[in-house]
Symmetry: C2
Subunit: 316 residues, 2 copies
């Protein structure tokens, strides 16, 4: 599978394509946090995006990039998390079928949300092979288009619109940091940032227990035998091949944080910004806190990716 | 004490006065919540205001309404809650002293926040008489101006700017609902709303255990022998005299909700809007949920007043 990286033009097209459906999310500032950290922080609140996560942008762009003929057959993906839900919601905006392959044992609440958004669930064994086989089977039976969660040009382009918007809302940023899971967000955002201003330094925050992107960059090749172990459930995905290429081309520096650091930053975000954010999102603030000197005096954009939290089971 | 109600012009002046210091808070929409409730809900997010509550608007307007001569002597209030903190922050924007009278036994975390904001604390016994005596003593010793939390013209005017802003962001609202404690917010917002459009229906949400405004309106006179008992800590204040007058003049209808209803609505707000809001704020959604038929098909503004929550002690 040879997936092209999107261009800045494709990201601009994506922004126009998703505008009728996606929220323009606010950027929040917090003078007391700035003073505490010694940098100017601009929080891009994708937890306030439709569906509670940035994922809707990529899914929506993929759905609306299809021809009418393709669209009529629907879309399919394998994801029991935010992407599955986002694709279901995006398909609903176009009135086309969404098929979501989910592993046995996935969290019931998440599956219910995906079904409520109108998707058809297809269950399979909880292995990568079973997942891909089931998705291929659905594709063959229905003619649906596969929309991969991150190794997909239109998905990356849609997710890059986060930074297009951020740079309109907060001018003159020196640096931008996003969490890194599969790398769809980070690659789209890096291409968008450097399409506008080549001097913006790009960073990625990764949990120490899922630091495959850091390891892959250090080794010069993607590692794929790796079992992530972190409380950051949104970041347990291995970096995709095209995504890793984008990270390398755009000199994205990875900062790894421990689960404890991510949880402490999550709590700080809830208390100071008054936002419900996922622990995966909090890695970006944890990274800035950890490497305060590196960010001292700079204008930093932090992408808060989502807010889909089980509020009955908080990690503190 | 004969406190005048502010005019719409005074509210417009307040908006200009506080603009350099206060946040323009976002209005959030949530299509799924709208569908569930059968109304169009516009959430005005004052939990994202400086200091995490709408209180900053009133305090800031009061501080910047003083002459230089008055300002030099500072300001004083008695409040261990959001208003004390807001006044401390507002005084800091003008570089003048803030004195806050706090009862023995007030929550340590709140007092620390007020001190951190730069205020001078004055302790007294936890009675209304002791509080007022101590505030008078500070006034005499320092020449500071008393800024009452709600029975104060400039405070009401500042708090009314919430609705000026809301009606710019969401045009054509049919109804607006705010929580009711002392009534500063409700009176300021009613005057602002009807200064713009006399047809907007105004509502107040009150916890059943602190329904003194509802009782006072029913009886035609302010009740003052009443001990509030509710989990909504921001609403344990009795309605002020000028505030009650404003509620009557503007035909504000009160909807009372139980603590359980407020807590359920708080949880729903956290889960759907991804916002940290206080249980006091959630009374507005609880009221709309409770009287769904009354709001059916209408465009409703809901003021989410604050997000200062002890996230280690959530009420569910």
């Amino acid at each position: 599978m040879n997936v092209r990286l999107p261009t800045i033009e494709q990201i601009r097209d994506a922004a126009a394509r998703i505008a009728p459906y996606a929220n323009v999310t606010p950027v929040l500032r917090h003078p007391a946090l700035d003073a505490m950290i010694g940098a100017q922080l601009h929080f891009k609140c994708e937890n306030l995006q439709r569906g509670g996560a940035f994922k809707f942008r990529g899914a929506c762009n993929a759905v609306w990039s299809l021809s009418d003929e393709e669209a009529a057959h629907g879309v399919v993906t394998h994801s029991s998390g935010n992407h599955g839900n986002a694709l279901a919601m995006a398909a609903a905006t176009r009135g086309i079928p969404a098929h979501v392959v989910v592993p046995e044992g996935a969290v019931r609440a998440k599956l219910e949300a995906i079904e409520q958004a109108g998707a058809i669930l297809h269950r399979c064994a909880p292995t990568t092979a079973a997942r891909e086989a089931k998705a291929a089977e659905v594709q063959q039976a229905t003619g649906a288009t596969l929309v991969h969660p991150y190794a997909n040009t239109q998905v990356m382009a849609g997710q890059g619109t986060v930074v297009l918007e951020l740079l309109q809302q907060s001018q003159g940023l020196d640096a931008i940091i996003t969490p890194i899971g599969g790398g769809g967000l980070s690659s789209g955002c890096s291409i968008a940032a450097h399409g506008i201003d080549g001097a913006i330094a790009m960073y990625g925050a990764e949990p120490a227990g899922a630091d495959d992107a850091a390891q892959s960059l250090a080794r010069g090749a993607r590692i794929d035998a790796f079992v992530p172990n972190t409380v950051c459930d949104g970041l347990r995905t291995l970096i995709g091949e095209p995504n890793l290429t984008a990270l390398r081309e755009h000199r994205v520096e990875i900062i790894t944080v421990t689960d404890e650091e991510a949880i402490a930053a999550m709590k700080l975000l809830w208390q100071s910004l008054k936002l419900v954010v996922e622990v995966s999102s909090a890695t970006v603030l944890a990274a800035v806190l950890k490497q305060r000197q590196r960010f001292a005096g700079r204008r930093v954009g932090l992408v808060l990716t989502g807010g889909n939290v089980d509020i009955d089971a908080l990690p503190w």
